[in-house]
Symmetry: C2
Subunit: 420 residues, 2 copies
């Protein structure tokens, strides 16, 4: 049985590699044709997809999944339309493949250009959101990469129905079905095999909860692009504009509490404890946020719960915010160095020098000045759709969009040059 | 004992991480000061280094190392001067850290810039060449990265003497000695521990023979930048200019046979078998190259040895060339797809369309038209010194110079923006 799974995954890896090799030189038009045909197929097959999703929902309820998970799993007319619209949007994005990133001449007359090429084969491991099947598959295709998708067991039937539409799109464009493969079994050992396919799979992108990311990062023999945590900070400096501090803190924490760019800790300059913090506390309280503060903050409001050591390292993903007093921007930078997750951190100040220090010294994928951490998103950055956010420093950092799913090659054009 | 090694390597990893954190914001001037002081120290301590090298050479001879290895190990006045000159040259290269790679405004007024930052901690594992201690340490320092160096046992004393000069340079510039650490033991288990330091070491660069690279790629928990093989091809098309074909083939194979960019296989268009190949064979024979050909080529010259299946996958690194007949550019592309190592491959033709097809479809780090594969080198590309060549597609491909030792962060500057 294990041997069978190994063989099956190896076959998928080989098929993906062969598909990737052809796909690298497919025209933008042909890739877009596949995406648009897949969108048409999704719209036409709504009933089939909804029926599959209903079965997934029934099993999920029987297994007692909570409301948030059920909501992530649920598809309806509007959501399917949204998935189809995303395919169209991805077709409209510029194709990064073939872009000349740089070009120069050498004194000996050699012309060198660095040209974008696809990475090859991308493995995507995700949980309950069935739309990832389509979004991730489409981003890989548009960037010229073959995809091997592994969806969560809860959404297996929905994902299969959506995948069938992608396959239909590929067929209509004359592309191999191996360009976007969905692992056809829910056997957990398939993930282990996928993570071991070094030489066939070029990169793994896990999307989901912390335990999934942790497992993938620990077990993978293939490089991984991901973020484990999003313990994002907002630092309110003594030179902060109070209105901006109020608006940004509230937005960074409460706009959506479940996204990775949501703020989890508010760092307050000790010199701003009395000038700024009381109004911020009031605003957060009114919005329904639970506050956990350090010793200097507790006296400011009776509703504040004492924070313990764990709070500084916790990604709540809920309407909870920890509040910590720090000694100016240096204290904020030190706290983030110790407790941050290299995701997104923001300073609020009117002092440009202080802001630049923060932007330089905080070692995170995204560092911000006077703006909400919830902008941590490829779409908000103008990159189009993203497949995720990476907090690692290798290959791509921050939002992972089409460009980040590429590598490059050097094309050297000569006229008979030999090396002395 | 194993526990002690684990602890020692963990301590080195932690020290490197702390050093990298400070180094990320050190000025170019201060880094250059350290490099120039190290160069002075190398020149001043020549006698000490030569004495250490003499001991390494004596042990190496006792252990029966061959002539090529002894030559790689040997230092003399001129070679030490060369190492010092490299340090000065690296000081003169532009500092990539802080470069704004791209910058744009969003409709909501957010200004986003993508800024180069160091990778963090780089582990370098190398063999007998003691100059790598200095070159690799200096490239890491200049790009703002902390280095953990692991030299070969044969060159241990030489490396230690050179490392002492780097440490002296760091001290004179007021930088921590932890910026460039040399593993102080030759115990092989240290390498295993280094490869397991994910979370402390950001990338591993192995430099040396195939068995070293293979071990590192198989065992590392940290991403690896390297090339395993350099099975480079020259394809002579029917539309090749004969003079160029002669000069380039000879140079690509024979200029230096031991470098990774040396050609190992000549692919000849079947339509050029009689028009081009005989003259090329003559030139290679005269230069002392052994030729191994396929069935169609053997009749052309009595000196040609029949190639067997293994020849197409062999990196000789010697004056041996395999010769294979292919069916035009498509045959060449197919052969390279099957037998190439994604390193450097060249087409010789006067037909631009054929050349462009080759440059697009051959999936190698460096693809060339009418120029010698021996240009596969960071210096020849105008990138300054290189730490190696990567054939992987993740992070960096081709020559790995200062820029390729960096990552980036996004700096977002706002004026109170919140996300709707």
């Amino acid at each position: 049985m294990t041997q069978t799974m190994k063989d099956m995954m190896l076959d998928m890896g080989k098929a993906a590699k062969a598909a990737a090799y052809s796909l690298a030189n497919v025209s933008t038009e042909q890739k877009n044709m596949a995406l648009l045909a897949a969108a048409r197929s999704l719209r036409a097959d709504k009933a089939t997809i909804l029926a599959a999703n209903k079965k997934d929902m029934t099993s999920a309820k029987e297994r007692g999944l909570d409301g948030a998970m059920l909501d992530r799993l649920l598809l309806d007319d509007q959501r399917i339309e949204g998935i189809a619209a995303s395919l169209v949007a991805i077709a409209e994005l510029p194709d990064p493949v073939g872009d000349v990133m740089a070009q120069w001449d050498r004194p000996n007359g050699l012309n060198i250009s660095r040209v974008r090429v696809p990475l090859g084969v991308i493995g995507i491991i995700y949980e309950s959101r069935p739309n990832v099947t389509s979004d991730a598959g489409a981003l890989c295709l548009k960037s010229g990469n073959a995809a091997i998708l592994r969806g969560g067991s809860e959404s297996a039937k929905s994902s299969r129905a959506i995948h069938a539409c992608l396959t239909q799109g590929l067929a209509e464009a004359g592309l191999s079905a191996d360009c976007i493969q969905l692992i056809p079994t829910q056997d957990r050992s398939a993930v282990g095999e996928l993570l071991g396919l070094a030489g066939y799979v070029d990169i793994i992108v896990p999307r989901g909860g912390k335990s999934l990311i942790e497992r993938v990062q620990n077990d993978s023999r293939v490089p991984v692009m991901a973020h484990l945590d999003g313990v994002c900070h907002v630092y309110v400096d003594k030179d902060a504009d109070l209105e901006k501090a109020l608006a940004i803190t509230l937005n960074a924490k409460m706009r959506r509490t479940g996204v990775c760019g949501a703020a989890e800790t508010l760092l307050i300059d000790e010199a701003a404890l009395n000038s700024h913090l009381p109004a911020i506390i009031d605003a957060l309280k009114i919005s329904g946020c639970e506050l956990r503060g350090d010793k200097k903050i507790i006296p400011l409001d009776e509703s504040i719960i004492p924070a313990n050591g764990e709070d500084w390292d916790t990604e709540y993903l809920e309407a909870i915010l920890s509040l910590k007093t720090v000694d100016g921007v240096d204290g904020a930078i030190q706290h983030i160095a110790r407790h941050g997750s290299h995701h997104t951190d923001c300073i609020i100040t009117e002092n440009t020098e202080t802001a630049e220090k923060f932007l330089c010294e905080v070692d995170s994928a995204i560092v911000m000045h006077n703006s909400s951490t919830q902008f941590a998103d490829g779409g908000e950055f103008g990159m189009g759709a993203e497949i995720g956010i990476s907090t690692g420093k290798i290959h791509a950092r921050g939002p992972v969009g089409l460009e980040q799913l590429t590598s490059y090659k050097y094309q050297v054009r000569g006229n008979g040059q030999t090396r002395p």
